[in-house]
Symmetry: D2
Subunit: 158 residues, 4 copies
C-alpha cells in the first residue's frame, strides 16, 4: 500500500484538517432533526463525523421472528438509517431528502440480545451520491457481526 | 434462446405437470400460518405457486418519509416477505424457519399511493437455498416499478 | 395485479406502438459499434429492443476453473455487457460512455457447456440511470439459470 | 461500542493468539498454488492472514474502456480473486474449490493508472460460507477507492 512521497500527501492532510476543524454536526443535532421528521424513530445516532456514523436501537423483544431472532427488515432499517446519518456527515448538515438508491445486505448470524448497533464508513462522497459500508452487531460483540451491508444514497441537487 | 427440439421439452412438460397437479398451498393457507407466527403482519399473500408468489400491503399514510413517500425499509420488508412466501411455494409447505441470507434492493421511483404490491419469481430452488427476483409497484401500475430486488433464502435442513 | 380498466391502458398501448415503430437499433448495429471500441470482444448481441437485450458468447474451453466450470468473472462480464446493450436500447442509440454504476450477481449452478447466453430486461430507464435484471444460462437451457443479476448503468449527460 | 469487561475479552485474546501463531499460509504459497490451477492469472497475492487478504495486478493499458478506464469486469475479477484468497486464509489452506456464491460491486470512480490493488476483510467465516468486504484502488491512492464490494464464497464440504 505505497503512498506517493510528497505533495499529494500534504495536500490531502491539509484538506482533512480543514474538514475536521469545520465539522459541526453532533449526535444530538442529528437525533433532534430526525425526530422532527420521524417522531417515533427507534434509532439513535451515537457518533457522527465526515467519514463515519454510528447508530443504536433497543431491540423490541415482542417483535421477534420464529426462534427469537431480530427480523431481517429491522436490520435493513438500521443499515439504511446509519447510511442516512453518514450522508448528513459527508455534507456537515441535515439532509432529510437524501434518499436510498440501493442497498445490499448479507445476514451473517441470528441476532439475539438487548441492543442493535451499526457503524457506517464512507466509501465515497460525490456531489450526487454517497456510498458506504455498514457493519451491524448486537450488544458488546462488535467482532461478531450479525449483518454487513453496502449502500448508495442520492443527495438532493440544489 | 434455442431449445432442444424433442425429448428435452417433453420431459420438462411432464415434470411441470406433475408439480402443478400436486401443488396444495394457497394464499389462505400462507396468510393463516404467517399470522400465527407474526400476528400483526401488514402483508397479505395474494398468489402462490411453485415458482412465484405475490404479496400486497395497505400503505400506512401516517408513516411516510419527508415528501410523502413510502419508506425504503417498508419496501425492503415487502421484498423480504414475498421471497419468504416464494420459499414456501418451492417446497409446497410452510417453512417459518426459512431465513433471509442476503438481499439487494434498488429503489427506482418515489412510491406514493394506497397499496404496495410485490411479485417474486424463482431463479433457483436448491436443497439449501432459494433465489428469487422481486418487483415492487404501487396500486395499478405494475409497469412502473418502484423497486427491484434479488435475494436468497436459506432453507432449514432436516 | 389490478389494471385500471380504460384510458390508462389505451394510452400505454399508443405510446408503446410509437416506441416500437421508431426503434432503429439492430444487433448488427450494436455489434459493429462495440467492435469499434472493443476489437476483440467475445460477446455478440443477438436481440435488442427498448426494454430488453440479449447476448451470447462461445465458452472458451481452455479458460475454465477447477472442475471445468465457467469462471465467475466471465459470467459477470456477460451480465455487464448485456446491460450495456440494454442501455443502448433504452435510448435507441449507441452510448459507449454509458458506465456501470453497480452490479450484484448470484451464481446459481456450475456452468458447463458450449455457449453462454444472457438476457437483460428493463426495470427502469431514467434520464440519469438505467436499471435492469439479467438472467444467464448455458446452451439450450434458459430455464436452468446459471446466474441472476441486477445492475445500474449511468448514462452520460449531454 | 461497549465491550464486556473481563472474561469475554480474555478468552477472545487467547483464541486470536492461537490462530495467529498457527497461521502458515504466505503470499508465495497462494501464488504458487493459484498459478497451478490458473496458469496465466494476472493477479498476485501480496498479503494474507486469517481475517484479510490483499491482491494486486498490473493494469493492461491495451485493454481499456472508452475514455481510458479500467473495465468493470477487470475490477470484478479482482474483487472475486481477493475474496478467494481470503477464503484460503480463513481455513489456513488452499481451497481451489471454494466458489463464489454472490458478489455485489459498486464502481466509485473511473480507474486509471498502472496497478490495481484490492484488500478483502473478513465479515464472517462459517463452516459453509465466507463473507468479506473488498476495497479496490489504483496505485498509491488507497483512500481514493475506485470500487467497493461484498461477496460470499461457499466452502467445499468434506
Amino acid at each position: 500500500m505505497v503512498r506517493s512521497p510528497t505533495g499529494f500527501d500534504r495536500r490531502r492532510r491539509d484538506r482533512k484538517h480543514a474538514v475536521v476543524s469545520d465539522f459541526s454536526l453532533t449526535p444530538d443535532i442529528v437525533n433532534e432533526a430526525v425526530r422532527h421528521h420521524w417522531a417515533d424513530t427507534p434509532h439513535l445516532c451515537t457518533d457522527i463525523g465526515p467519514r463515519h456514523a454510528m447508530a443504536t436501537q433497543v431491540i423490541n423483544q415482542e417483535n421477534l421472528r420464529p426462534g427469537g431472532f431480530v427480523p431481517g427488515p429491522t436490520m435493513f432499517s438500521m443499515a439504511d438509517v446509519v447510511l442516512w446519518y453518514l450522508s448528513f456527515g459527508t455534507v456537515n448538515r441535515i439532509e432529510p431528502m437524501a434518499l436510498t438508491s440501493d442497498l445490499s445486505i448479507r445476514f451473517l448470524r441470528p441476532a439475539q440480545g438487548q441492543k442493535l448497533w451499526a457503524r457506517a464508513d464512507l466509501d465515497k462522497a460525490g456531489r450526487l451520491m454517497v456510498v458506504g459500508t455498514v457493519k451491524i452487531w448486537v450488544d458488546d460483540a462488535p467482532d461478531r457481526l450479525v449483518a454487513t451491508a453496502q449502500g448508495t444514497y442520492v443527495m438532493p441537487q440544489r
